[in-house]
């Protein structure tokens, strides 16, 4: 959570950078004439038991070099064997993203020497990919409420299967580079998008939507923190119809990084042009400490990958796969869920998106509403996405790790709905249920004496008391300074340890103040 806050702060800084420089624009250089063009390439690790071309396992947190078959270490004489589960995962992903499947696709070798790529080449699908021409539609929602949400579609150029590389770990102690091949050969789906986005916000919204889709179809875990989904962003700016020189930001490992890096890169390129310099075609990395993209110097030399067809694999023929079955088993996709929520519960896109972005909360929401359809959906939304989420963040618990059942949250909602507690105490109840898991919210309320005071006589008594105690405020109110009522209400709250039903109290107070 701390990191999230920090990043948000930095986002604002970057945006401010942009705004400042826009305002400062000189006569010779009009930034408004320039538009930025962003295209993403996303590497999604396939969730499969074994690797793309070998029988080795793919466990993320396994002991170093324990998930390695002979083929993964490029032992001479070994040959690749296609894992049909990986192909099925890619087919399903392609179907969901509306791609045209190529009945026949083929594999190529992409050569470069890298310590964690033992064969000296990666097997990929450069020339004839598995699928082409798809699209993804998503909602772009700025945190700034003044900017209206809008829907955007990005076109997919192709989806290809390829191998992941291993990892190089630099050991500071021994001053050695160590290689872990556990990841080497894991199946990746590379999704290549057309350059049709404008900025970091759109880029991050696309990635969010893709994560939601993966959440549903389970072909990729989407765990960016484990590197299961990595984003490369191609960024360029232009003042004409032709695309400008682009830079490629490699390996963005979080949604925030995608947004910040793209926006920073646009800002950097605009400044270059402004200073009369040129954008160089290069690969850049994202430094999450300085929040800047930096040139990756060793890769500056133009790479010639010397592509060649992989001679040890037959062309991949999709006729062998039951595509109809895959198609019929597609679960409900996020777009459908989103539309259902909006029409059924009357939420706007912003509210819907907030809920959808936390799949665990979304499923809790459905549980709570399905359990009792008379519950107020907005209240459920508030309790889940504000109160409950805040408590989770406070405790640094990921929603999916929370062990609080939806029925418990539902009960909190009911306590609010029937005025048993007010919001202040509802919050306390939510905090308590993490520590006292065996107790129901109602029990917690009773034990702590947190019930809301809604009894009319009692409220009237309280009103009278504060009016007597603070005659100046009463006088102020009656002279027309209506704000003074708030002062009196706050004292009723204080007197009752915030248990008083303040809506009721405020109504009564008003009556008394007007009548007497």
């Amino acid at each position: 959570m701390y990191i999230r806050k920090l990043l948000t702060k930095h986002t604002l800084q970057v945006i401010n950078h942009l705004k400042l420089s826009r305002n400062k624009s000189t006569n010779a250089f009009d930034k408004h004439k320039w538009k930025s063009v962003v295209g993403l390439e996303i590497h999604a690790q396939i969730s499969s038991e074994s690797k793309l071309f070998s029988a080795a396992g793919t466990k993320f947190d396994a002991v170093v070099n324990s998930q390695v078959a002979l083929f993964d270490a490029a032992i001479p004489g070994t040959l690749p064997r296609i894992n049909e589960k990986c192909v099925e995962a890619a087919i399903l992903t392609a179907l969901v993203l509306g791609c045209n499947l190529n009945t026949e696709s083929s594999f190529d070798r992409k050569h470069y020497f890298y310590a964690d790529m033992p064969a000296g080449y990666q097997i990929t699908q450069q020339f004839h990919p598995l699928a082409e021409k798809g699209q993804i539609t998503f909602h772009v929602i700025d945190q700034n409420i003044k900017n209206l949400p809008y829907s955007k579609t990005s076109l997919i150029k192709q989806i290809q299967l390829e191998q992941d590389s291993g990892r190089t770990i630099y050991d500071d102690f021994s001053k050695n580079s160590l290689i872990d091949l556990n990841r080497a050969g894991t199946g990746l789906m590379e999704l290549v998008f057309e350059p049709d986005l404008c900025n970091g916000l759109e880029a991050s919204a696309l990635v969010k939507e893709l994560l939601l889709i993966f959440e549903r179809i389970k072909t990729c875990s989407g765990r960016m923190e484990e590197g299961a989904l990595r984003v490369d962003a191609n960024v360029s700016i232009t003042d004409s119809d032709k695309l400008g020189t682009r830079t490629e930001i490699k390996n963005l490992g979080s949604i925030r990084a995608v947004q910040l890096a793209v926006d920073y890169e646009i800002f950097r390129q605009l400044n270059l042009i402004k200073e009369g310099k040129e954008v160089v075609n290069e690969t850049r990395g994202w430094d999450s400490i300085t929040n800047k993209t930096i040139s990756m110097r060793d890769k500056e030399v133009l790479q010639d990958y010397r592509f060649m067809p992989e001679p040890n694999l037959l062309p991949l023929n999709l006729n062998k796969f039951d595509i109809k079955k895959l198609q019929t088993n597609i679960p409900e996709l996020p777009t459908v869920t989103r539309n259902n929520i909006m029409s059924k519960y009357g939420f706007n896109i912003r509210k819907t998106t907030t809920l959808m972005n936390e799949p665990v909360l979304l499923s809790m929401f459905f549980d709570i509403m399905n359990n009792d359809s008379l519950r107020n959906p907005s209240r459920v939304w508030n309790v889940l996405t504000i109160e409950f989420l805040t408590e989770l963040n406070k405790r640094s618990i990921e929603p999916k790790q929370s062990e609080i059942p939806s029925s418990v949250i539902g009960e909190v909602v009911d306590l609010l709905d029937n005025n048993t507690v007010n919001l202040v105490h509802a919050r306390k109840v939510i905090a308590k249920i993490f520590d006292e898991k065996n107790k129901s919210p109602s029990q917690i309320v009773i034990e702590n004496n947190w019930e809301q005071i809604s009894n009319i006589e009692e409220i009237e008594k309280l009103c009278k008391e504060v009016m007597l105690e603070y005659p100046k405020a009463v006088k102020d109110y009656r002279r027309g300074k209506l704000q003074a009522i708030k002062f009196l209400i706050s004292h009723i709250a204080k007197k009752t340890n915030e248990r008083a039903n303040l809506a009721l109290a405020s109504k009564k107070l008003e009556e008394f103040l007007k009548n007497d």
């Binding site: 050569h111 033992p118 040890n312």
Partner: protein
Amino acid sequence: MISLLNKRLRDRTLSAIDLYGKTLSDIENKSNLNAFVHVIRDGDQRAVDSHKRLQNGTQRPLEGIPIAVKDNFCTKGVPTTCASKMLQNFVPTYDATVVERLKAAGAIIIGKTNLDEFAMGSGTVDSIFGPTKNVWRSNPNQWHIAGGSSGGSCVAVASGMCVAALGSDTGGSIRNPASYCGVVGFKPTYGLLSRYGLIPLVNSMDVPGIIAKTVEDVVTVLSVMIGPDENDSTCVDTNLDTNSFQTDFSIDKCRIGIPEEYNCEGLSDEVKETWDFVANLINDFKGTVKKVSMPHTSVSIATYSVLNACEVASNMSRYTGLFYGYRSKNDHKSFDSLITTSRMEALGEVVRSRILSGNFFLLRSNYEKYFMQSLKVRRLISEDFKNIWKSNYDFLVTPTTLTTAPLLSEFKSLDNRTQCATQDYCTQPANMTGCPAITIPVKLSNNKMPISIQIMASNFDDIRLLQFANWLEKKLQFSQIHL
């Protein structure tokens, strides 16, 4: 030969233990030929096991038969060097599928045989272990080359050290040395035998193959290795029945093509005469023999040079010394300098020059011009073959090599490309199209060196090819005369 050994082992006039011991001492006695780079001397237990099985009647098809394996097939726990400094200390943890199947059939792997570094050559001369010498000599003061790259395996069989050996054939690497050494060399259809565990030269042309004294022995060994392999996607389930080898074969129903393009520059008179002799022999036995044309034959070698270099450049990328193999002892500033030095120090000049040209051909700006163009020409060469089979020809009969085995001194004076370009002329097109091909010895030249003939058939018509070769072998009586 194998059936004879089988019989003697079964009627106990020979024991598997004695056979193993005799083979070891034979290899020792003929070590001057340099056929083996590693002899497996700790196979006693296997010999004893075979002996027991033969005694209790549970013997398998190759029980106790010693077989040699070219040193580019992975053998579990036994060094597999490819005759390169790069893999001098490489000990695989697994058996190549064909080796595994030989073992499962009771064969005793007796050792690993010499080859040109990573099978790149046609002499078995470019090896860190030094050249293999041909068992045939025209004069007692000079050695002839064994041919290559499976020279070690061919010499092992020709000299009687073992009855059969595994080789690999990418452009003629089995047939060329088999021809020079006067033994039978069989290159099966691409995809018939698993390549898993064969350290690749050109993946799209490499095939494991068999060297033996007789065609019948080739069939016996083939029958235990045939069949699909889940570890090799290019290995096909053909349902080819090796038993059909025993069915009747009548030459008078066969149509044999004599491709005139194989009568090329450099073809020696004696080889040409031998070719004519075989054609006439077939004709005498009422086989239909006709001249045919395969117009793209002459460009095959040039095409092969490009495709070979490209795959070599790619396949050799893994030899960096990081995970296995040779690693330079010098200090290094960077990853790049470490692997550059290691590769420089451990790969021979022939290997390095092919890597260099392959990388050149694969550059983005050259890919169309060289690689794609070569693939197109490969297709044309393949079409030449298809047209022959479509015209109802059953077999093609051609020379195997242009001459008899050159003298080692003469051969060394040529560069590797010239060596291969001449020596692979007749054998190489079969690898382009993947068809099965076999070489069998016909006669001796005036200077007492073997001359052989090559037969080819359409893809997966291996058994008929072997039947024809068997028929021809019986008529020629080469092995009976000269052994």
